[in-house]
Symmetry: C2
Subunit: 421 residues, 2 copies
């Protein structure tokens, strides 16, 4: 049985085909420039050269069609028959308050996702277009929605409500939702397995640091707070997003530079964070390299980023109580040793004692590595994330009728003997 995972953005569709029986990724790739014109597919099969085909995709349905055509192509494909696809898993960014776990998509679910699309106007509409496209192209094949927000629905009210007019919550759903749920879920299960404790007895802080960055306070195995909010703009400094700032700044700058609400939103989301400070880079490799070469603004960007990570570690230590471990994950979390070092240095009084050599050696997206000293009361681990695995296991479990929710369902990766492929 093969499972197709789809991740539809406004102008792209990413896909991955997973062979559930062999537990391997058979093919993956992306259709770029969907809707906007000059679209093409990049199709990767392990052991083969990447295949590119230009093909017009005026909408997401055509893109899904192109993906299926490529997957079943006699020359470039990997499937003999489209019927091998047993189910499709769709990444859905915003599940609002309705979705606390992955679900089989039916009309009711589709309506509910549509209902909360005003909360993620850039993300949910293409997610919905992708679902509808896949339903049309693969009729009768079960479609499953996996939400970025679902993992965080365990947050208590005092953590998710903002000190804003309460009717904004009632009328528009203005509250903290949080994102990167599958990643926080994955690494929180892995760290429990590594610590040799049941997940529901672990208190951990998970730091997902990629282009998007979010942190999560996990108490007894469930999310009790997270740094992203109503949207993915809140929290840490990111590649292009500002994260936490004085909420007076948007209106202040709109008045100074005569900007519309859309324009300020775009600057805060696309021209801030690391690129805002450096003026040039979002990729932390460039920032680290140029900082090492003496570029003042790159150095400053690293200082600000690491300082803000450090602050969140403190914040969530106050939230979770007795802390078992901190986990770094995603591109920067897994590879950015200098950023981790600056973030963790000086936290000895809180029980975190960095092992500089271990930290420096942890620069891989494959290995799970302890980066604190053996006698550090709180352990810090680098754990490569695997959102696709959460995805695929949710889909398979829903198909098999074994799925419950992340607290009760036993993922393969929550077992101590799990070996990453």
């Amino acid at each position: 049985m093969d499972i197709l995972a789809l991740n539809c953005g406004s102008s792209s569709v990413k896909y991955q085909l997973f062979d559930w029986d062999k537990k391997v990724v058979v093919a993956k790739g992306m259709v770029e420039r969907v809707v906007i014109g000059d679209s093409f597919i990049l199709h990767e099969v392990p052991g083969r050269e990447t295949y590119r085909e230009d093909s017009d995709c005026p909408d997401h349905k055509t893109a899904v069609d192109l993906i299926l055509r490529t997957l079943t192509s006699p020359t470039h494909g990997v499937l003999r028959d489209i019927k091998q696809i047993a189910a499709v898993g769709h990444r859905v960014v915003h599940g609002g308050e309705k979705f606390t776990k992955s679900v089989l998509i039916d009309d009711e679910v589709l309506a509910a996702v549509t209902e909360v699309q005003h909360l993620a106007p850039l993300h949910n509409p293409p997610n919905i277009a992708g679902i509808e496209g896949a339903m049309a192209v693969l009729p009768g094949v079960p479609q499953v929605a996996i939400f970025d927000t679902a993992f965080h629905q365990t947050m208590p009210e005092h953590a998710y409500l903002y000190p804003l007019p309460y009717e904004w919550y009632e009328k528009y759903g203005v509250r903290r939702y949080g994102f990167h749920g599958t990643s926080h879920l994955y690494v929180s299960k892995r760290i429990a397995a590594i610590l040799g404790k049941p997940a529901n007895q672990c208190n951990v802080i998970t730091m997902h640091i990629g282009n998007g960055v979010s942190h999560c306070a996990i108490k007894n195995g469930v999310s009790v707070d997270t740094s992203m909010g109503l949207t993915p703009l809140e929290g840490a400094m990111m590649g292009t997003r500002c994260g936490d700032i004085d909420p007076a700044i948007p209106a202040f700058m709109m008045q100074k530079e005569n900007l519309s609400a859309k324009e300020i939103d775009s600057i805060l989301n696309k021209k801030s964070g690391v690129i805002g400070i450096t003026g040039r880079f979002t990729d932390r490799r460039d920032v680290i390299e140029n900082a090492n070469d003496g570029d003042r603004l790159c150095s400053l960007a690293l200082d600000i980023e690491a300082y803000r990570l450090k602050k969140y570690i403190g914040t969530y230590m106050a939230v979770v109580g007795r802390l078992d471990a901190v986990v770094f994950t995603a591109g920067v979390g897994e590879m950015g040793a200098p950023i981790r070092e600056r973030a963790i240095a000086g936290l000895e009084h809180l029980g975190i004692v960095l092992d500089k050599e271990r930290n420096a050696s942890a620069m891989t997206r494959k290995r799970e590595t302890l980066i604190t000293t053996d006698d550090s009361p709180v352990k810090v681990y680098v754990i490569p994330t695997d959102e696709e695995l959460v995805f695929t296991e949710d889909v398979a479990a829903i198909l098999n009728g074994t799925y419950t929710d992340h607290m009760n369902f036993e993922y393969s990766f929550s077992r101590p003997d799990f070996v990453r492929k």
Copy 2:
């Protein structure tokens, strides 16, 4: 020698007359409804009934004139001769990056305060009007500016810069400034005296919780971070201000409700925070009372407020390193025992062990009280603030030529034998 302290708001002028030799407040009061019409003065002299006089004050100069007339009135006054006023101290909200301490006002200073008034358009203009008014009415009398922001100018760059386009900092001065400086200064000197350590060896977190709320991370006696930012809107949940929220929310709500930048700013500053959640109250006494009577939203407001205080304690523990003490001050900090209890409860793993009885008994604006257990590694104190004393001592020291800056000048209240009057 008498010192007059003035605090000019957009439609009010507060004053206090201090007898420097006797070290007592001789009179204090407020002119209300300045500029907007129907203005009147409320004048308080210890041991007398409050005196009220209606008198039109179309501008701040007339208000200062009314204050001086009242202070020297044969029937209601306290001064024989206006010449007894040796100096005037003005509270100035925003000193930008130019002012790191209190200063004698001359044309250059006035120009510099005017230059940064775009950062505090509601506050600096009336402050300036008050200074000009007092200069006109009391020619030749030294006028001193005491800034809300000055104490925080020791923050390092990585703490005060936002992850925003760097040119916003260069062009408009968009950065964290922080406020409530005189209050954080006062309680940080007091806690050092109480701990019996030189201030420059103390690491403390000061929590000023009044109508406005700000926290400060103080390392080796100086501010290294603070929760208010470019404006007083950032940070904790306040009486009417939201504090930290997703920075996407202003633009989101502007689009939902078709609001202008000014309108959203006004809602975030005046209709959010405690009044936003409860819909009715800003005064925490009302909130606590109604929560005790079972009002769900009041209970929720307390939970959110306390939870956010707890998070900041954790944040700043990560910032300052080894922590000596946490200090609660201002109206809610001094009187709001149930809020303090909820904020501190559950921080034992961070070395903070609340003594519930001590905390419950600390409900006074007069006494300095330890509210942790004797063996709590980190001490928590309630310390009544005294911004006016900082004010007056700065003015007197500038007059006497003994003033340096808060690190080197020895305030009366930084001495262990200081007794509060």
